[in-house]
């Protein structure tokens, strides 16, 4: 059945319809060059996914007088040196079998390797690190494996790194080239002379590369570790909450004041990690400096809107924070039911709004710190966490319910983990018990790729 039958069109329709109908059919099958401009435009002029055959070949019909047969014929391969006789199917036109070399022989490339005489070796190539025998072996292997140094290093009888082998090969080749040239200028354009092999750079490059590669794997493993430890951390946190609960019972009024004073002088309890403590304090000092400069630039305007001033101040205050942190601050503001932009931006309201934002930043910092400390604690406790005896357990949700949904503590966790990653190396050095600390040296050995 034909589309024309369905549509009730005459069998010999207008030439236009015929053209329209027949063209796409041809297109999809074997006449890509017959494609109409419009249809081609639909493909966006993109290259086809599959390699396409030269369309002129397709268009040309084999002349009718050509008689093509396929025959099982012997052939020789000039790339071989053993004169092995093999057979393959060959397209024979009018009984004339194709002559010439085997078509794949040209792909057998071999590297032209410079060889030296004993005399040349004595004169130019002696090296305290290399014997002549070793050098000879190296050059034999270079020829045999076409400078595939990874394989050469594998087959090399004595233990040498890829870089050492390359260095020896290239320096010898260079020396010979220079020695044989009538003047140094004659070979200055030669790639071996122009771009000398730089061992130290190459070693550094591979070390850097392997560090990058090993880093990600390390992090992957670390992520898995973090997930595995999550349970333990929640446990320790619950214990901490229990203790906190009991201290609250002892001195119900003392808590906020202590926190307040701690807030003022900026010290964050006795901590093993000074770096972290200072990081938590730093933003507050820089914020005031930024505020001052923002105020100065506002004064320059001579007239401005309060909302504009607030925007500038908010921006300055969060300039040290990352985009994610800023988003978190805004999320918390929303959770607290506070307008991101005050509805009545008086001076007092703006000041309060700014203070609130700063406090939320402090809060996020502390969450990070707590997260970090919990992770640190569980790592140096080495899994043997001793739970406080007689501490009443309380559910997580129960405690947090008063303020800000779980997403907050969850986000804090994430932030904490990120923090850990960033400070990874530093942490490893002061916590040698961590299993991750052993990984790096091993990774470095794998750099001989």
């Amino acid at each position: 059945m034909d589309a024309k039958d369905i549509l009730g069109l005459p069998k010999t329709p207008l030439p236009i319809t015929q053209e329209k109908k027949s063209q796409p059919k041809k297109d999809s099958q074997r006449k890509p060059d017959g494609i109409s401009r419009e249809v081609y435009a639909l493909t966006g002029g993109l290259a086809p996914l599959m390699p396409s055959i030269d369309t002129t070949q397709l268009k040309r019909r084999p002349p009718s007088d050509e008689k093509i047969t396929w025959q099982w014929l012997p052939f020789t391969n000039s790339a071989r040196k053993d004169n092995l006789q093999l057979y393959h199917w060959v397209r024979v036109v009018n009984g004339v079998s194709p002559t010439g070399d085997y078509s794949f022989a040209k792909y057998n490339k071999s590297v032209d390797i410079v060889r030296y005489t004993d005399e040349e070796y004595e004169k130019h190539l002696t090296d305290p690190m290399w014997t002549k025998k070793e050098t000879d072996q190296l050059f034999d292997l270079c020829e045999r494996f076409d400078l595939r140094f990874i394989i050469i290093a594998d087959r090399f009888p004595s233990s040498r790194t890829v870089e050492e082998l390359k260095d020896r090969y290239y320096s010898v080749s260079r020396a010979i080239l220079l020695a044989r040239a009538p003047s140094p200028g004659d070979v200055s354009a030669h790639p071996l002379i122009k771009e000398p092999y730089n061992v130290s750079q190459e070693v550094d490059r591979k070390r850097a590369l392997s560090m990058v590669l090993s880093q990600t794997k390390q992090q992957e493993r670390k992520d898995a570790e973090v997930l595995a430890e999550a349970k333990r951390i929640t446990e320790s946190r619950m214990a901490a909450r229990g203790v906190e609960e009991s201290t609250l019972h002892v001195a119900p009024n003392a808590g906020p004041e202590i926190a307040e004073t701690a807030n003022v002088d900026g010290t964050v309890s006795p901590s093993s990690n000074v770096q972290l403590a200072s990081a938590a304090v730093a933003p507050s000092t820089s914020v005031t400096a930024e505020n001052a400069s923002t105020l100065a630039s506002l004064r320059m305007l001579r007239v401005y809107l309060r909302t504009y001033a607030l925007e500038q101040m908010v921006q300055a205050a969060s300039s040290t924070a990352g985009l994610r942190t800023i988003k978190r601050v805004e999320q918390i503001l929303q959770d607290l039911g506070v307008n991101l932009k005050p509805r009545v931006p008086t001076k007092a309201v703006c000041a309060e709004h700014l203070e609130l934002r700063k406090e939320i930043l402090t809060l996020l910092n502390l969450q990070k710190q707590l997260q970090y400390k919990e992770a640190e604690g569980s790592s140096f406790r080495d899994g043997s966490y001793t739970e406080m005896p007689g501490t009443p357990k309380r559910s997580h949700r129960d405690q947090d319910g008063i303020f800000i949904p779980d997403s907050m503590s969850f986000g804090g966790e994430r932030a904490g983990r990120r923090d850990q990653k960033r400070k990874g190396p530093g942490r490893l050095s002061d916590a040698p018990a961590s299993p991750a600390a052993h990984k790096r040296p091993r990774k470095l050995k794998a750099s001989d790729l």
Binding site: R241, P256, E260, N263, Y304, L366
Partner: protein
């Protein structure tokens, strides 16, 4: 006081003093109902008023409303308070309002942007000719380091928020203008005043105070937890040292 002294006073800047003018800007729009036609479905008024409906003329000399280019004379200049403009139309667009200040205030104009709103947020409800659509924004025009002349002139004016002057600083009293002589520029008895929105600083401050309290409590809790963990670490360290 000599004339030279007088001009000097006017130019001299007051450091660490800022004058702010609380304003409200926005629009009120009435649907014309049966009288509506294709091009004029709403009658609207866009304005800049004092937050407490005081006369802004003491600071603002002129307001220029830049309407959509499809209006006749799209640049409308209002030379005296109240700074408002009424029009009829069918479309919403952004109105740029340029405020020019009195000569002793600031020679730089300032721009406000208001998106004219004619149609109510929730489109399901029937449109009413009685109840207008009101959109207003509160803001404050801030003049950092105002001139002494400006300060002296407006120091007792209700449209302006002033800080207390530093101790030992006195300004000559300014003759109080006879209110009856002036054309009234305030919007206290404005025909639309029943629709004006309320902007309560107190509510906003309460909300913020409550939020800050919550955050501070959380901070205190976190600090306690951190010190607790530190204590545990110390303990573990000392036991492992033994």
């Amino acid at each position: 006081m000599s004339r030279a002294e007088d001009t000097e006073k006017k130019i001299k800047k007051l450091k660490d003093v800022e004058i702010s003018v609380p304003i409200v800007y926005g629009n009120i729009s009435f649907w014309l109902g049966k009288k509506a036609n294709e091009y004029q479905s709403h009658k609207w008024t866009v304005y800049v008023r004092g937050a407490t409906n005081e006369d802004l003329g003491v600071v603002i000399k002129r307001a220029v409303f830049q309407l959509h280019s499809s209006f006749n004379n799209p640049t409308r200049v209002v030379e005296s308070p109240p700074f408002e403009l009424s029009e009829a139309g069918w479309g919403e667009f952004e109105i740029a309002i340029t405020l020019y200040f009195q000569s002793d205030v600031c020679d730089k104009p300032m721009n406000l942007y208001h998106h004219l709103k004619l149609y109510p947020e929730d489109e399901s409800g029937p449109m009413s000719t009685k109840k207008p659509v009101v959109v207003e924004s509160y803001d404050e025009i801030v003049f950092p380091e105002p001139s002494e002349g400006f300060f002296a002139r407006v120091q007792s004016h209700p449209a302006v928020t002033l800080p207390r002057l530093p101790a030992g600083f006195t300004l000559p009293p300014v003759p109080v203008e006879d209110a009856s002589k002036r054309k009234r520029g305030d919007t206290k008895d404005h025909p639309l005043s029943q629709w004006f929105m309320n902007f309560s600083e107190a509510d906003e401050l309460l909300q913020l105070a409550a939020a800050r309290q919550q955050v501070q409590a959380h901070i205190a809790k976190l600090r306690r937890q951190i010190s607790l963990i530190d204590g545990q670490h110390q303990q573990l360290k000392s036991t492992s040292d033994q």
